[in-house]
Structure formats: structure tokens, C-alpha cells
Symmetry: C2
């Protein structure tokens, strides 16, 4: 990969300094104590875009975390691209597993380590910088550009959902550009055409008014932790298949041609097990390849569980209350609301008379599958080939980007998911990173894409 043409010598140092400043803001959207940090990250972007020369730069208030809007609409007769990204990040715990602190960006072996480095600050920064550099160089952009950047992607994304629903006309565009996905591998750029949907829920089991002594009451008093475990053990089998009745009914199987293309991709399952997942064995379902399972098949994972005493030593109690967080990933054409209802119904069926179980839905996202024949998809393909030296592969991704289905529905425009991360970037985990050369390459690819969109 060569240096991007619009980056003069010394520009890399400026990119590193600017992005590091952005990454230092702990904009964790799910934790109330970081509310002000999230607002600061929004302001950082607004300042950046104002200095770059964008118009109508605005920090738009929502019920929780603000949106940042800006546009540059002076390329008369040319298409308009809406650039989306998010400036909020996941919590950083467990902190003790980070080699360097999550909010002190550190360049190590060509990688920039920080919470949000790849998800999504490093990637949205590449878009911001691409536009800023073009404007700086010539005072013009090849096409019209809008930015809409949110701070609730890692929570419920309610603010942008409401905004897009009420301002679809103001956001009119010919394509949406999103960089929040990984490449398939180093040297294998990718455009993601499929995303799994998701249902996030919390399940709480209550057995008694308060914890009881496990010696005095053990044998008579029901145990909330035992019961919660018994319930969730009946949600999946040993292969990770979901055992909620009707769960798979609406799943559209991947076409055989697509499955064949996936089989041709360079994928070393043992390498993946050992170096990416780091597990003694992967979940084994002989019906589907690993790529199909993580890209297109639905899942049910417990994201966390808690109940009773969890300190040092032992405490002889029967816990009265226990809860767990559940994420279900959905394939096309599963309906998040129907799946959430099936989950709650099944829990109600399973819950024994000794306990009460409550299900709270924390968030949902519809699955997405995009057409590959749009002009914007072709422009992105050529841009990636130019900058990263190989044509991109069309992949799917197991993660959920709820905003993508909203854009598709509300803006009637294709979403181009052209991301510069790598599969081992440790998203949502300790030691999140982004290859620094991919930030620089991302800037160049975004610029190439904008030029190629000019008619």
C-alpha cells in the first residue's frame, strides 16, 4: 500500500496527533458517569468540521447523546454522499487486561491501541480527514457531502433513529458511506453487504425477598442463581444452536452461490481458533461453515451474568435474585420483535413455580442484506482496489449496525460499508487497536471514492 497521494510528508504525524486527541475522550455512551465525555467527543467533531470548512455544522441535541451534522453542497449537478459514523465507544472493562490504558492511545508495532481505535473513532476520523484534506488542497469537493455522526451506536441509537425518521428529506442522498466494518484480512479489503440483526435483553429471576442462609434454608428455599442457570441452559445446545421454539422459522438460507464464494475465501479455521478466538475448540455445527455461522446464522449469547456473592472467599447464601444479559444475533429475515417475544414466551414457559422471571428488551436491530449492483458499490470497489492493491471481497458481518436498515428504509439509498479495520482489532474487548496505516489508507480510499462518485 503506497502513501495516500493527498498526504504530504509529515501529514502522518498530524493524523496521529489529531486521532489520538479524539481517542483520549472516554465517550462511553452506556455509562451515565461518562455523559459529559460523550458530549465532548461530539464537540470535538463539530470543531474539526468547522475548521475544515464544512457548512451548517451543528451539534444536535437528542434525549441522550447528540448528533453531529454538517454538509458541503456546492458541487452543482453532482451526486450527494451521506457519511455516517459514531463517536461513542464501548466500556473499557476489564481494565486490568489492557496492556496500555484504554484512553491513552499508544502506537505499538504499527497499531494504534485505544478503546474506539477501530470501533469507530479511527474509521470516522478517516472520513473527516479525507474531506478536510480535499478542501484544504483545493477548496472544493468532487461531489456533495453530508456528515451525520451519532453518539449512541453502542447503546440504543434512539436519537439518530428519531432524527432520520423525521428528517429523511433533509438527508437526501445518492449513497450512504459507512466505515464501521473490518476488511476480510490484511491485504483483502472488503465491502460488507450483509449484517445480522440483534435482540438485546435482560433476564432477571427472583425467588425470595432476600438472600437466605444456605445452611439453614438449603433444601427448602429455591435458589435464584440455580434457577437462572437452569433456564439459560435450555436456550442453546452444546453446538450453540438456539433451542427457543420457532427461533429458526423465518431464517432465509444463504444462496448456494454465496456459500460457494465464502468457501473460496482464504480462511484457516485452526489459525482463527488459535489466534483470533483463543479457545480450546470452536463451537461445532457440521451443517454450516465457521464463516457462515458468524456472518449469517442466528445466535444466542449471554453477555454477562450476576447474582449472589461474588467477592473474595465464600459466603453461605441462597441468592434471592440473579440476572443475565442476552444478545441474540439474527439472520435474514428474522424479525427482532417476533424473536424477542418468542424468547420471553419461552422463558415464561420454562420458569418453575419456585421463581418469577422477568424479561426486559434493551434494544433490537433488523438484519440487512444489500444489492451489489449499485453504482456506488462499484465506485467503492474501485477505490479500495486502488488504495489497498487488491479488489475487495463482498462479505457479510455478524455484528449489527441498526442504522443501516434505517438508512435503507428511510433514505432509499444504498449503504456502502467500506471499512478499514482488521478482524483481530479486539472490538468491545481489552486492547482494541487499529492498524495506523489503515487509518492513512482509509483517508485515501474515501477521497478516491468521492472522486469516483463524480459523474
Amino acid at each position: 500500500m503506497s502513501n495516500p497521494p493527498t498526504s504530504p510528508a509529515g501529514a502522518d504525524a498530524q493524523i496521529l496527533a489529531e486521532l489520538s486527541e479524539f481517542l483520549r475522550i472516554p465517550s462511553i455512551s452506556t455509562l451515565p458517569e461518562h455523559h459529559a465525555d460523550v458530549a465532548q467527543a461530539a464537540q470535538w467533531i463539530a470543531t474539526f468540521l468547522t475548521r475544515a470548512g464544512l457548512d451548517h455544522v451543528a451539534v444536535l441535541t437528542t434525549a441522550r447523546h447528540p448528533l453531529v451534522y454538517a454538509d458541503w453542497l456546492h458541487a452543482a449537478g453532482q451526486p450527494t454522499v451521506l457519511i455516517y459514523g459514531h463517536y461513542d465507544v464501548q466500556p473499557a472493562d476489564p481494565l486490568d487486561q489492557w496492556q496500555t490504558p484504554p484512553f491513552e492511545p499508544t502506537l505499538r508495532d504499527g497499531n494504534l491501541y485505544a478503546r474506539g481505535a477501530a470501533d469507530d473513532k479511527g474509521q470516522i476520523y478517516a472520513q473527516l480527514k479525507a474531506v478536510a484534506t480535499l478542501l484544504q488542497a483545493g477548496g472544493q469537493l468532487p461531489i456533495n457531502v453530508r456528515f451525520l455522526i451519532e453518539g449512541e451506536e453502542e447503546v440504543d441509537g434512539q436519537g439518530i433513529e428519531d432524527y432520520v425518521k423525521h428528517h429523511a428529506r433533509d438527508l437526501a442522498c445518492d449513497a450512504v458511506l459507512i466505515s464501521d466494518t473490518p476488511m476480510f484480512a490484511e491485504g483483502h479489503p472488503a465491502i460488507t453487504i450483509g449484517l445480522r440483526g440483534a435482540v438485546f435483553a435482560e433476564l432477571t429471576v427472583t425467588t425470595a425477598r432476600q438472600d437466605l442462609h444456605s445452611g439453614l434454608y438449603g433444601g427448602a428455599a429455591p435458589n435464584a442463581v440455580n434457577i437462572l442457570c437452569a433456564l439459560v441452559a435450555r436456550l442453546t445446545d452444546a453446538a450453540g444452536r438456539v433451542t427457543i421454539p420457532g427461533f429458526y422459522d423465518a431464517v432465509r438460507p444463504a444462496p448456494e452461490a454465496e456459500r460457494a464464494a465464502w468457501r473460496r475465501l482464504p480462511f484457516d479455521e485452526e489459525q482463527y481458533r488459535q489466534h483470533e478466538v483463543g479457545a480450546p475448540a470452536l463451537l461445532a455445527d457440521p451443517e454450516f461453515s465457521v464463516l457462515e455461522r458468524v456472518w449469517a446464522r442466528p445466535t444466542l449469547d449471554l453477555n454477562g451474568i450476576s447474582g449472589g456473592f461474588t467477592g473474595v472467599g465464600s459466603k453461605a447464601i441462597i441468592p434471592a435474585r440473579a440476572s443475565c444479559k442476552v444478545s441474540m444475533r439474527l439472520g435474514p429475515d428474522q424479525d427482532p420483535a417476533a424473536i424477542a417475544a418468542a424468547f420471553a414466551d419461552y422463558i415464561a414457559t420454562l420458569c418453575p413455580a419456585t421463581a418469577t422471571a422477568a424479561v426486559q428488551v434493551l434494544g433490537t436491530a433488523a438484519p440487512v442484506l444489500l444489492p451489489t449492483d449499485a453504482p456506488a458499490m462499484q465506485a467503492a470497489t474501485a477505490a479500495l482496489a486502488e488504495v489497498f492493491g487488491a479488489p475487495p471481497v463482498f462479505t457479510r458481518m455478524g455484528g449489527s449496525i441498526p442504522i443501516v436498515s434505517l438508512f435503507v428504509q428511510q433514505l432509499q439509498a444504498p449503504c456502502i460499508m467500506m471499512g478499514f479495520g482488521l478482524p483481530d482489532d479486539n472490538l468491545h474487548a481489552p486492547n482494541e487497536k487499529m492498524k495506523f496505516a489503515h487509518v492513512v489508507g482509509g483517508i485515501a480510499a474515501a477521497q478516491s471514492f468521492l472522486r469516483r462518485m463524480r459523474s
Copy 2:
């Protein structure tokens, strides 16, 4: 119940003040940050016994929390009673469920609320005060007395175990008096002749080096929380019966005469369910009555569980590690070491190839069943009848007092478990309490017992 004869008017206020001072010390033995508080509670007892006129008062250092020893051996030719108790307490969490703070003793409706009120500070205080008052009144005790009070009962009790094993001759006695058990009910004093044994263990499941994104890896990466739940769900059935192979093999059934006596006890199962346990239903095993299940049958309870993200909101991860704490209660004649091994073996058998499971044994106690025909047992029976107005019932108790089996083995003396708590004292739970009149009555009963032991 009449006022104890050796308590003059105004003595109750002094008792309340002294006991409250003792309860204010947060001597939580399992939490390292309370180490100094535990030491302070030991010193409080030593000071009390010194002022009372005991000899050889000593705070004996152990590897963790000290023992307090004292004696009064001037009743030549008379028997010797060893009085045992513990001054350490359970953690107080969840703090938000206490009506008044756990270490600010509060008298409400005749009950003294505080962590340790019944388990065991209120009860050991009654013994201390009984002896102090007798010495104050006449300068003499009717028999010889030793005190041995530990600060590790709620953890592993290692210090007293080592001490008793190495100083059995120095502790020579004719009976051991222990007040760390409840009455059967208000107006129904009890002597506990059976205790369940226990195995405390921690089970940890590890699937990967670190948490992974549930969208990107869901379907391929094994989930430590899902697997931990699947494992523990296979340890018990819906009735709470333990499903570890061979678990019940060594259990000695309760004799039919004892079961018949239990059936005659005033016990209202619906009242118990609603007001003591507070659960929508009790565990149901038609083979055994509720009393038999909590007194004599073995159990397996999860005391706590943790893994992954448990904060506010959702976090889309596949946890790499999860753990739970397990307590198994044992009936006679189950061997704790054999049960711990059976548990670990079964977990090893169940653990799938996608994970590793580790079992750590945190503590054990042998079950105890005591003979009812010892002279000391008769003296205790008469003392309780005198003070509490009704002859005591011989009961068993589901809790474990590991020291009791050690005393039986090492000192060859009967253990008299004569306690003054009530079944709803909320041991190990929020709002622990002790009926204040039972502290006063306990003082009188202990004095009566010592007098009746005089030959």
C-alpha cells in the same frame, strides 16, 4: 420468660450498651479490608474478660485472625466447661436492603438489628456476660470455665483448627458449650444435636484469552457464561436433588423415631414459605418433609455467579471467563473430601471441549450427630426449661459448624449446642437481628447451666 435472677434493674441497659459496642465493630473476616476490624473485635473480648477477672487472657495470633483464650480454673474437683463462639461476621452486602445500617445496632420492636446480632456476637456476648456477672456477684464460678473464641468461623476456621489439634490437652474439659444455633421457635427452646457438613467450592470456566464481540464472533466462539450455566444446570434437578453421580451413596437416613418426632413439631409449611423464605413456592421433594430437607438432607446451592458485563445497559460481548461459588450441605455420614472429589470429577466429565473448567475447594466441614444421653445435655435441658419456661426440643440444623466435629474428635467431650436465636434472624442476610430478651435470657440460661454442671 422472667427476668434473669442475676440481672438487677438497670442491667439491661448496660447489656444493650455493651453488646452494641461489640456489634459496631465490622469484623468481616472474609474481606481483607476489614482485617484491622476483626483484630479490634478480638481485643474487645480480651478486654472484657480481663475486666471480668478471668485468668490467662490471651489474644493468640494465627495466620489470619486471632483466637481469644481465657480461663477460670479455681473450682477444685469440679467439672470444666469450654465455652466456644466466634466474633467474626458475614459481609453485609447488599447494603441497600438494610433498614438501618448493619454496623449501627438499632433496637426496634424488641429486636436488636445488626450484622452479627445473632451470628454470633449476641450469643457469645451472653456467655461472656454470664460469667462476668457471676464473678462480679460472688467472686467465684460454680465450676471451671475456659473460653476459646475465634474470628474465622465465617471463613475457613483454619486458625482454631490448628490450635485445637496442637493444644487438645491444654483445652481439657468435660463439655463444650456453644451458642451459635437458633431455638425451634419463639417459646420453643432447642438443643441442636445434628449439623450438616459442608463443601464450599469455586468453579471457573474459561473459553478464550479475552472477551470477544458477540456480533463478530457469535456462532463460532464458545461462551464462558453459557457453558458455566450449562454445567451447573446439570448439578441439580427441579426439586433441588443433587445429580452428581454417587452423591447420596453415604447418606445415613434419619431413624424413623427421629422423623416421627420432627413430624410432631409445630411447623406451618405455608407460614414458613411465606414469612421466612418469602418464595412463590418451596422446593418440592415428596420423599422428605421440609424440616428433614433443611436439617438432615444434603443440598447443592450456588452462592453467587459472575461473568462478563453486568453494568447498566448492554455490552455486546462473548465473555471469556465466568465463575460461581457453590456450597454443598452434607448429611451424616457423607465425607466432605469424597464429595468435593465427586463434584470436581463430575465437572471434568461434563466440561465440553470448547472450555476449561477449574474447581477450587474453599472449605469443608464434616457432618455431626451428637448423643443425647450425656450429663451435660441433661444440665442444658434443665437450664433452658428453667429460663425459657418450656423443655427444649432436640433438633438438627442445616448449617455447618466445622469446629463442632473437631471438638468431638479432639477433646472427646460432648458439644452442647444451646442457642438463643430465632429462625427468622436473617443470618447472612440483610437486617440480621436478635431478640433482645433472648440475649438477657441467654445470660441466665448459661448461668443456670454452669450451676447445674456442679457435681
